[in-house]
Amino acid sequence: MIELNNVSKFFGDKQVLFDINTEFIEGKVNLIIGRSGSGKTVLMKCLVGLLSPEEGTVLYNNRNFHHLASAEQQKLRAEMGMVFQGSALFDSMTIHENVMFPLDMFTNLSNEEKLDRVNFCLQRVDLENVNRLYPAELSGGMKKRAAIARAIACNPKYLFCDEPNSGLDPKTSLVIDELIIDITHEFGITTVVNTHDLNSVITIGETISFIYEGHLEWRGDKDNVLTSDNENLNNFIFAQPLTQRLRQTL
């Protein structure tokens, strides 16, 4: 489990996160939702240690990430996998090498074992026959799946996905969502997903934290997100004409 206690983040004089208190539950897909610029990505960067919050704590099973010694932090980071918004695959490496990379860096497996693991991960995300291709030769959806394969290569305990559906068509988005929830349940990972994709919210949001202008405005799950009486959440969820029509039917 990951717990955030009173997390605040400042950039100079500007405060972008205000006393965030929430938790992300083990074996579940935990969503952070909110409008663009609400502070979702900053919050995720604080979670994975790319940014340090000025106030508050981030606890990974009671280990305070930002107060760990660097060797301990490195150990904890080896338990994390992350899928970036733009996939962040290493473009000088083939897909095979990308997935192999964390295994080369953090394991002492034999070449055969590593090869088996790479093939397993790529098959798990339905990517076959692309081993020798470079990221630039793949479509957006394939890149996201390759990034997921790389993220799960070392059996992470924590999986972070920053807007995994951005730039994808609705059908491919569904595939990615299904993959994330399947992998989370299959391996018992604590998954945290940043999204503003409404379809993801109502299909994979086992816990949902809604961030509004840097404040944690609402916490719940996919079953009550559509029936909340929080005005800011409703303005976010029912912003589009299609969802407004859906609201009328509820």
Binding site: G49, K75, R77, M82, F84, G86, A88, F90, F106
Partner: protein
């Protein structure tokens, strides 16, 4: 302006501290080192040899033209050309050329990795990106650049010799005589020491400007230009300092 200068210098040394930490895996470091040495060395060989041939040819012609006097022995052409080529032209001009060639490649490569979050991905994995990405480039450049300068000196002298053979302004015998007259190994050592420092500046400054990019494609272009200008400026200052110390 002055405050910004000191902040940048401080950031550069903090960056170097991160770069010079123990690699996470030595076998991967050596693999990357070999790759970088190949890319830098083989990739620059053609341009270095062409520029050196032309440079050797021109400096020999200019020297021959300037000392057309019966009072000055004709082997002076070879002697002056060799001294200019070994001590100044090849180490400094070729190093400046490599700043434009290799330095801009390094800034663009690391900068685009920063822009596309590949460096963040390394950091989240628990890898020190500065050491993983930059250390092999710095080590490769301080190994490869002196070798390139040796080749450059060779090609420049070949260029000079070919010019003398084709124009006949002095005999090739006199030219060769001048080339070997009062030859000091120390001159070559001086050239290689200079190149070593120039290579370090080129690769570390170029990496620093790529690594600290905050933004998109526009910033990448800006960082590339800044990297080249700052490296060239430091190289010119170092050139004066090293010459003062060593000669």
């Amino acid at each position: 302006m002055i405050e910004h200068f000191f902040i940048t210098v401080g950031d550069y040394f903090i960056f170097l501290k991160k770069v010079f930490s123990k690699p996470d895996k030595w076998n991967i470091f050596f693999k990357k080192l070999i790759f970088e040495m190949d890319a830098m060395g083989v990739g620059s060989m053609l341009i270095v040899s062409i520029v050196s041939l032309a440079m050797g040819s021109v400096i020999t012609m200019q020297t021959a033209m300037q000392i057309e006097s019966s009072w000055i022995p004709s082997w002076t052409v070879g002697f002056v050309s060799r001294t200019s080529i070994v001590m100044e032209l090849c180490p400094t001009i070729i190093s400046l050329l490599l700043v434009g060639n290799l330095g801009s490649r390094i800034t663009a490569e690391i900068g685009s990795m920063r822009v596309t979050e590949q460096i963040d991905a390394l950091e989240v994995m628990g890898i020190n990106p500065a050491s993983y990405l930059v250390l092999p480039k710095i080590v490769a450049s301080v190994i490869v650049n002196p070798v390139l300068i040796i080749f450059s000196i060779f090609f420049a002298i070949v260029g000079g010799y070919a010019t003398i053979a084709m124009t006949g302004c002095v005999t090739t015998y006199d030219f060769m005589d001048g080339l070997t007259y009062c030859f000091r190994v120390y001159d070559v050592v001086y050239a290689l020491v200079k190149t070593f420092f120039f290579a370090f500046v080129m690769s570390s400054v170029a990496s620093f400007y790529g690594y600290k990019i905050d933004g998109g494609a526009l910033e990448l272009g800006k960082a590339n230009t800044q990297g080249i200008v700052v490296s060239s400026f430091i190289i010119l200052i170092l050139n004066v300092l090293i010459t003062q110390i060593m000669l």
